[in-house]
């Protein structure tokens, strides 16, 4: 019994050691799009393991926005989450869409 506890404790120490050794980095990915009607932007926050950036990561936030150029009006802004990030749909004058997206793994 004592041996088992010792082994388990040892494993715990090793595991925490590995976990502590993981080097985390944070970044943000931003995408944008624009045309004569207006513009749209999307930003996501990513926290990733420097050793395995594309398998060991998490998305920390999603943001988006947009605007319209002279004479046009923004009627709706929608930010939709997807498995890899987000997309922002900016609707201008009711019918025109300017769409941008941001995702991770960043290509």
């Amino acid at each position: 019994m004592k041996k088992l506890v010792a082994i388990l404790f040892g494993l715990l120490v090793v595991a925490t050691g590995f976990a502590a050794a993981t080097q985390w980095a944070v970044t943000s990915v931003r995408g944008s799009n624009s045309d004569s009607y207006g513009y749209s932007w999307t930003e996501i926050g990513v926290k990733y393991d420097v050793q395995h950036p594309y398998t060991h990561y998490s998305i920390t936030y999603r943001r988006g926005g947009g605007g319209a150029y002279g004479g046009h009006v923004v009627t709706k802004v929608i930010i939709i989450a997807d498995p890899h990030g987000a997309e922002t749909i900016v609707k201008i004058d009711g019918y025109h869409k300017v769409i941008s997206s941001a995702g991770w793994p960043y290509i």
Binding site: N33, R62, G65, K76, I79, A81, D82, P83, I89, Y95
Partner: protein, 348 residues
Amino acid sequence: MYRAMGLLLVAFILFTASLSSAFELHGNASLVYVSSRYNPYIQYRLSRGDKPEWVTTSLMIYNYSGVAYVIQAHNDTEVIFKLKDQGRYIHSHVTVLLSNVTIMTILPRGVSPRIFWNESELISERTEKSHEFNFKNWTWYIFELRTVKIGGAYTIRKKDLQVIRDGIAYGHTMLFDDPGNPLKEGEVFTVYPFFTTINKITINNRDPLKWKNIIYYPPTKTVVTDYYSFNITQPFGRGFPIEIVPMATLSYTFDASDGKLITTLNSGPDLWAIGILNADFIDEYSCYRVEVKHDYLYAFGLFLKSFRINEGEVEKVIFRKPKTKVAYIFYGSLLLLGLVVVGRLKRR
């Protein structure tokens, strides 16, 4: 004497006015709205650098038994309302038909998606591990389907045209603007789950509204609400934010002569009541006419394709055969005329 007559006249006018303020449907009605796919528009959008999955005829968030789904339709979107007069209420049955559909959602471990579609229509299904910061054990589900049908029912209270379901008033119906008691600027339009007031009303006495071979002639009335914002989280009301809408408006264009909805770009109480909490409709044919051909008379949202009153009641049409004797006389006279003409030509 004159005063008494005048008073009587005023009373009569007030009486008729009070009668007209309650909206009357008179029997049954059906309204079919459509947003169509149009390949030249898709080509135009792709040429501008848009991804094919971004080009949709409708984009919705559907709350089905507490699970929020993002739904995108790439072919036609059709929304059918069947209305039935039931005394003080109008019963409305809604059917939403989508084709070439992508459905997406994210769920915690141990919870599987609630299926509201016909499984024989499924083309593909895939899952992806969640990389969400506080939702590590969750899974993304993505379904591709040939067609999807969403149905639901609610009632419209005739007195004030409020959409009601399970004792909750959602707001003024988007299907009608009662000409006897029209919508006005500053009035409350929707109550639940989103509160909006009417910001602007424009009457167009000049331009018709077109879609393919259908034209609605002026006057038309466009009602636009003030801005509102919301987040839709999963499960509904708490947890993971699946859609964030920092700014939105509701816009509806009515036929000002009888008050029926001709076109809209968005959802409204009538769709909220059946669980469609947000919707964006784009008619690709009209968008092509507007954006590429610069013909601004096209309505670019969900468009009223057909409006039928008293559907379901069989109307007997008595068809009388033309009397044969009269027909013989008619054809005989035609023959005679022909002979005379031919004879005269020959004589020359």
